[in-house]
Amino acid sequence: MNKKLVIIGAGSGGLCAAISAYKHGTHDILLIEQDQETGGILNQCIHNGFGLHTFQEELTGPAFAQRLKDEIAQLPIDIWLDTCVTNITKEKMVICQNKNGIHHIQAQAIIITAGCYERSQGAIALTGHRPKGIYTAGQAQKYLNQDGYLVGKNVFILGSGDIGLIMARRMSLEGAKVYGVAEIMPYSNGLKRNIVQCLDDFDIPLYLSHTISNIFGKDKLEAIEISPVDENRQIIPNQAKRFNVDTLLLSVGLIPENSLIYQLGLPLDTKTKGPIVDEFLQLLPGIFAAGNGLHVHDLVDHVASEARQAGINASLYLENKLSNKPMIQIIPGENVSYCVPQFFHQDSSGFKLSLRVKLPMPKAKLQFFDDNKLLKEQVMMNLFPAEMVTYQISADVLASISTKLTIKAVMINE
């Protein structure tokens, strides 16, 4: 079977990429989804706060997904549900499997919008046994919000990312007692609004600079201990606090679903753990990535706009309109943990840059260097590691770069 464009993953990214590619003239599209419905993680994120940028109103996750589902239903785009992509090749062959068997689809372009997965207890080398009662926050969220199953009654949460905070409120509402949230960093990684409305509203304490130091229970979780950590994130001994809980939820980070990239034999960005792309979001000519499968986003609005851009770029590629000039590297400098894209073409007409800073900065200068020569600087307010920064970088800045583009964030003290 042949298809002009195959899109892998029909969450918010895949739906937006498909709709956008269709509107920009690519009509022969196949959208592949491994779940039984489209919409991805939004379907289980029943809280509100989604879509302020995209729809100028505050929607719940399922309502945001519903808008995209309703929009794509108006377009003649093929969607295969319950279908898992097992392999893609550099020649753009997509191999997938569903109840009808194994399928080989020769695509002319591919967009990977495969989302991300949660770091688990293995990934953070959690101490102790592996008793029943330890879940990732998203796993507990799916069980509760789609199956109506509350995983436990006495809960502790490790990690103060937004999913952890949202689950602290959600489990409290459903009658569980949440004893606290521990965060290894001295600041929370969640939105302020979630600290107030998910923790303070339910009198749930937030233990900053704390982590789990012990787990009790062999078959079933019986208790956990938390301890303070020093500035090097090492546990300070003899100050442990014990909580008798049957459930521990982990909200300790997300990693792009990068197994297809790995199969292509391509290196990953060591910081984002996602693919390395150019300004068109291509990892190889005609193979694009967007959304949480490229780098982990905080807002679905950012996923949606990045994926729409990937849809436009794929259409341009199919019309042979993307640059193939030599490329220049983008390097994250001082206080910048990563930049996406990692490369751009010499003749680039400008693009949207995404980056994260390494530490909270109330006021900072974003600086753009050609090697050591400062080209441009921009003052920005309220930069936080947990909030991705996007910046539209213009053609005139790019045109004056001869070696490589280094981006730094310098704190302004007042």
Binding site: E58, T60, A65, G148, D201
Partner: protein, 122 residues
């Protein structure tokens, strides 16, 4: 009385210290704009929240249907409303924004569906 708030109006997150009498703010410090003052006023004397939750659904893809209040509710109504929702079971098909419970507990607020779910025959 004294109380401290983190303002949630913008990402700056001002820490605001307030001294108040039972229905009046006497002194406010730490807010960098007017919005902070009005946020604290509401949080002190008439806090409201949007509530999102789920109700049971029969003959649908999932066992639970996501719902929300169509307006913010007084904060102290959160748990009474949660208790009501526990007894509700609806039948698919459901369309987004369908009213699941009208005027719940006489609050003037409706509980509405936040997604559509088709009827499926197993």
């Amino acid at each position: 009385m004294n109380k401290q708030f983190i303002c949630i109006c913008c990402p700056k997150g001002c820490i605001i210290d307030v001294t108040y009498d039972h229905d009046k703010i006497e002194n406010i410090q730490g807010n960098s704009c007017k919005r902070g003052a009005s946020y604290v006023q509401d949080e002190l004397f008439s806090p409201t929240r949007m509530l999102t939750s789920t109700v049971k659904i029969n003959n649908a893809m999932h066992k639970m249907l996501s719902v929300q209040t169509d307006k913010p509710i007084p904060k102290d109504m959160i748990f009474p409303i949660m208790k009501q929702l526990r007894h509700i079971c609806v039948e698919a098909p459901i369309n987004i924004n369908d009213i699941i419970i009208a005027n719940i507990l006489d609050t003037g607020v409706n509980i509405i569906a936040t997604r559509s779910m088709e009827k499926i025959t197993k």
